[in-house]
Amino acid sequence: VDPKRGCKVDVVFSTERYNQEEGEQRLGKCSAHVFFKNQKPRPAVNVTCTRLIEKKKREEEDQLLYKRMKQLKVPLDAASIPDSRGHIDASLRPIWDLAFLGASYVMWEKTSQSLHYYLVQLSSVKQWKTNDDAIDFDYTVLLHEFPTQEIIPCRIHLVWYPGKPLKVKYNCQGLQTSEEASGTVEGSAVAPTELSNI
């Protein structure tokens, strides 16, 4: 691949269940081709995995998680998860998990050949609604950007209903100016990078 026009990275990794329990086996091996075109973010990703959790089981787990979330009372001043000392209260874990999921879409969209990200913190929750069937989650996260070392706040609005594609709208603040990156992502229910098994 012509380095001026793009950069191809091949990645091999193994997956495990998120929040894996002790003694659970790792899942399958995956290989991915990642292609950055013309220094632009949002690389094309082509992933194949040898073994994931079967679809039916995934759907069951989603439903369970969904039920649990509907019952959650989220204190709207649930700011700073984890806190300064890296601590996440067990009761707030599901919120963190969902926040992380939404943030992972944003990070994928922003990642380029020269910039990559880690999620630092869920810094505030604007809204957590579950009155109609979907979970409607409006929050802000802080992303740590390499190599600039900047901390980027991103406002994310996520709507989830198990079985339906995840909808993510976001808006990230640039450095001191109004450079913003925003977008809408629709999670596909087909690609393995989907939202079950969280």
Partner: protein, 421 residues
């Protein structure tokens, strides 16, 4: 400065709830004797009600004055018409006082501990608690440990370095610093643990005793005190110093881009609002200059280790250029042994290599400068983790991190001892 502010508040209270809304504190730079005189004349104008915190003395010494709201315009016009330079140090004294008050009311009471054995190493501490720890450690080990002040920060805090020595006169030494980037909390916490470890192992562990019998160790635990205080009071993710930059509303310089090695080249930012802002010139930051002065006047430092987090890396020069350092082979081999030792404890995997090849291009970084000064064993660590918690590393990981890192440090120190140069 903080003490003065509190004093002023108390005075204000004593004189019947004085309020400081709109009051500004100006720092005046008188260029010559004539300008100093003019400012002295200002002092005499009682109706302006000026309150000099640092009075006019001679050209070159800053003059700090609190100006009541009603006099602000007049004073500025006066200074400007005479071409006397000044900058606004505090935009509104009252809001600063309000913030401080809130902070004092809401912050946890200082945890007072009677001995370093009772100190909790598995939790994150405040600046005051670390200072108390340091004083305790010195008093418990007066033969081995002493505290040196190498300077004062931008905001006036003392900068302390611990010296561990079993005697001799200016022995070859090892320097370790933690917390140069204030948000990297596991590093200052590890520094505290290292300090205690040194006092425990000397005389007990033969290999370590051999090191300290021939060499001195200097340990700067809080290398960026202003930044560290800020991570506790206002912004947990603050990285830089807290210096004010003339002409910008943004604060702070990246102390790991401010050294005189490839200063200002690619790998740092010239934007004061950036987290990798290199500053107006090399060593502009007193926190950096203090170390530079110390290293140069000591003249016998043989290993220099600067500790950061996160990414799990052990790095050696260069950051600002891609050519190999002359000692690359040896530095690489030593790094390999060090990370192997580190992994032996809990299996924590580190990568190693030159800064530019392993992490990213960075100019004006600490170890590029120390290496240029002839300190061959110049290393930068990036401790746990690799991004899962990043800066917000759970406190439960402090001691494991410190323990494994210590093994790597021992490897480097031993090699330095056995390869004098």
């Amino acid at each position: 400065m903080q003490g003065l502010l509190v004093f002023t508040v108390l005075l204000g209270v004593a004189f019947g709830n004085e309020d400081f809304v709109g009051h500004q504190v100006l720092r005046i730079s008188a260029a010559d004797e004539a300008q100093v005189q003019k400012v002295k004349e200002l002092e005499d104008l009682e109706h302006l009600k000026l309150d000099f915190w640092r009075g006019p003395t001679n050209p070159g010494s800053p003059i700090d004055v609190r100006v009541p709201f009603s006099s602000v315009q007049a004073v500025k016009v006066f200074l400007e018409s005479l071409g006397i330079r000044y900058k606004i140090m505090i935009e509104d004294v009252q809001s600063l006082l309000d913030e401080e008050k809130e902070q004092m009311l809401s912050s946890k009471p200082r945890t007072w501990v009677r001995s370093t054995d009772a100190f909790n190493y598995a939790t994150y501490h405040t600046l005051e608690e670390i200072h108390d720890f340091v004083d305790l450690l010195v008093s418990e080990n007066p033969q081995l440990v002493s505290k040196i002040q190498i300077g004062n920060t931008y905001e006036g805090r003392p900068i302390y370095v611990l010296k561990f020595s079993t005697g001799g006169n200016n022995r070859p030494a090892i320097w370790i610093d933690t917390g140069i980037h204030s948000r990297e909390w596991v590093t200052q916490a590890s520094g505290v643990w290292f300090a205690k470890k040194i006092t425990e192992d000397y005389g007990q562990d033969p290999a370590f005793t051999a090191i300290l019998d021939s060499m001195d160790i200097f340990l700067e635990i809080v290398t960026n005190p202003d930044g560290f205080a800020f991570t506790h009071s206002k912004n947990r993710l603050w990285r830089k110093t807290r210096s004010l930059t003339a002409g910008s509303s943004c604060v702070g310089v990246d102390p790991n881009r401010n050294w005189d090695a490839g200063f200002g080249k690619a790998g740092a930012s010239s934007n004061p609002c950036s987290d990798t802002y290199h500053g107006k010139f090399a060593n502009s930051e007193v926190e950096v200059k203090s170390i530079v002065d110390f290293v140069q006047s000591h003249g016998n430092i043989k290993a220099f280790i600067s500790i950061h987090s996160y990414s799990q890396l052990l790095l050696y020069p260069y950051g600002y250029k891609s050519e190999d350092a002359p000692d690359k082979e040896e530095l690489d081999q030593l790094a390999k042994s060090a990370v192997t030792a580190l992994a032996s404890l809990y299996g924590t995997k580190y990568q190693y290599g030159s800064i530019i090849k392993t992490i990213y291009e960075a100019s004006g970084s600490t170890v590029d400068w120390t290496y240029s000064q002839g300190i061959k064993y110049s290393y930068t660590f990036e401790l746990r983790d690799t991004g899962r918690y990043g800066f917000l590393l759970p406190a439960s990981q402090i001691i494991p991190t410190a323990k494994e890192t210590w093994l790597a440090l021992l490897t480097i120190m031993e090699h330095t001892l056995n390869h004098p140069y």
